[in-house]
Assembly symmetry: C2
Homo-oligomer: 341 residues x 2
């Protein structure tokens, strides 16, 4: 079983984008607010959007199931109010539930949260609970910067975030720390903002004591952990200089990196410096990089190939492809079993 | 000859900090503004600050000369006004000139610029010119985020930055893209803000056409290029998807990475994916990480060891340790020759 922990519904039908555009346009003229009922997406449209993309690539690459969430870049929590984000989150999460309903062997759901700048993270707990309890989702994406590149929220170790962690722990689901698009011209979304957020979150965890307060909380830092594995000596050294505990005890019992690193030397580094038990297979397919690498003739984001071409033993590869995922997502196994039934 | 392209005067005498504290305190009460004449630092104080630190480490590690600039974290362009930054820059740059005067074989000067949030970068051109023409400096540090973690300036490819690039080109000196401390609680300075800025700048260069407009401009991205080498496939793939030219033509004729990566696997990755001609030896000694790595028994920031332990040939190591620096800093050779005379 090969479990891709990081996929977004980047290929959702155009009607979804049309609805969102109307929702955003209506922020200036509430009379134009589209009704939720106006958004009609058929099962065939959903099938069509996946068969040509994620499902085709799953088959071609030999991956079995994708832990699937709404498109990250269009979460755009910085747009509109809390009510805007709540409606948009519910719509996107419900659509993921439909995907999972149509292809229960291929997808398992993860939700986006109705975050909004300046709004207490506590307010997202209800939608998280709905998605896990009612929709059968197994995790959430948590945006450390709902302002979209202005970084106006407090660090993830601040107590204002704690209600979300309490709910994650209560429901026994992990969160992936994942920003959305950037409305700061300095930060290209997938080329800078995403990677910076990964790096930033990890450093916040070094400085804070989040996992002392939540020893069973599990957070996934995507995109191979941002810059962290490449600068692993810097992070070990900074922690040491600041008299923080060793990273193995202080952070790495609770933090996992995915394998969304799009070349062999990067994956080789990740596998060399980060313990196998902290790594989850991920590709972010279909995502940030969609082309074929001319130096290999393969898709950049076909990260399964890099892991298979690494020096890792078969047993260690299985941990990354499958076994670690069961540990990080305790609700995953039951979901897969019910899909097989 | 082993040339360390990245050293800051992090060990400057306490009197400098005392002056800066008074300067900052006086922002609220201008009557308390300290006079520049009140800052008296003796040659012996300077010698003492270096003999126990940078010079001792140069000798121990077998490096010859450090391209030396004011402490990056205390540039703090976000504090006070343009006048505050101008005075502080002149003081810090003049102090670097004194260091170079006392140890002309060990140090060559690079300046900080009197940047300030919202102030046109053009206003920094005069101090740059003074440092190069009057003080004999060979480069500058350019802060892409004078706001200190709020990222309120436009991207480095914006035309408002062009007057600085024009002056750099006219003087034939490079700039290192280097942020300062962060006043945004999300970003630890050396653990997040520095690395994020490196990554951010590189992505800006992919998106823009800066080097079409300035084909001879040379910019150094420190800290091993941030996250870029680890995600080299992502950057190649993003450029390809966006129909940008190949990175080799579009960015890598003008951009250089230093070797401030504090463990062997990180350096090995850097040397594997980035062409040798784009790499400059740097350690940022005495800088972000000052401890000894218990896994090696050596200083984390003794990056010379990692390069020497890599698979690179002696000829390629010489390019990184010495020859590339002459190309990137055309004024370096004359400075070293006059120091020997």
């Amino acid at each position: 079983m090969i479990i891709d922990c990081h996929g977004h519904y980047t290929t959702a039908p155009q009607d979804l984008t049309t609805f969102r555009d109307a929702q955003i346009a209506a922020l200036k003229d509430p009379a134009q607010t589209p009704s939720r009922a106006s958004l009609k997406i058929s099962d065939d449209q959903i099938r069509d959007s996946l068969e040509k993309a994620q499902l085709k690539l799953q088959r071609e690459r030999g991956t079995d199931v994708t832990i699937f969430s709404p498109r990250a870049s269009t979460m755009a929590h910085h747009i509109g109010t809390e009510a805007t984000s709540l409606e948009w989150s519910q719509i996107c999460n419900d659509l993921i539930e439909r995907v999972v309903g149509l292809y229960p062997k291929n997808f398992v759901g993860v939700c986006m949260l109705p975050q909004s700048p300046g709004v207490p993270p506590a307010n997202s707990a209800r939608e998280l609970e709905r998605c896990v309890k009612d929709l059968g989702f197994i995790g959430a994406n948590l945006n450390p910067d709902p302002s979209g590149g202005h970084w106006t929220a407090p660090p993830l170790t601040d107590r204002s975030w704690y209600p979300i962690y309490e709910k994650l722990v209560e429901l026994d689901v992990p969160a992936m720390v994942h920003v959305s698009s950037s409305c700061n011209a300095n930060f290209h979304a997938t080329g800078a903002h995403y990677i910076n957020a990964d790096t930033t979150a990890f450093m916040q965890f070094i400085l804070g004591d989040l996992f002392k307060d939540f020893p069973t909380l599990r957070l996934i830092i995507p995109h191979g952990g941002g810059a962290v594995p490449y600068h692993w000596g810097r992070y070990r050294g900074l922690a040491q200089d600041m008299k923080r505990p060793p990273l193995a005890d202080h952070v790495m019992k609770n933090v996992y990196f995915d394998t969304c690193v799009y070349h062999q030397p990067g994956i080789d580094l990740l596998l060399k410096v980060i313990p196998v038990e902290n790594i989850l297979f991920g590709s972010e397919m279909v995502g940030a990089v969609r082309g074929i690498d001319p130096t290999t003739g393969q898709y950049y984001d076909d990260t399964k190939r890099y892991i298979e071409s690494s020096v890792l033993s078969g047993a260690d590869q299985r941990r990354i492809f499958e076994e670690n995922a069961y540990r990080v997502y305790p609700r995953l196994k039951a979901r897969l079993a019910s899909a097989q039934a």
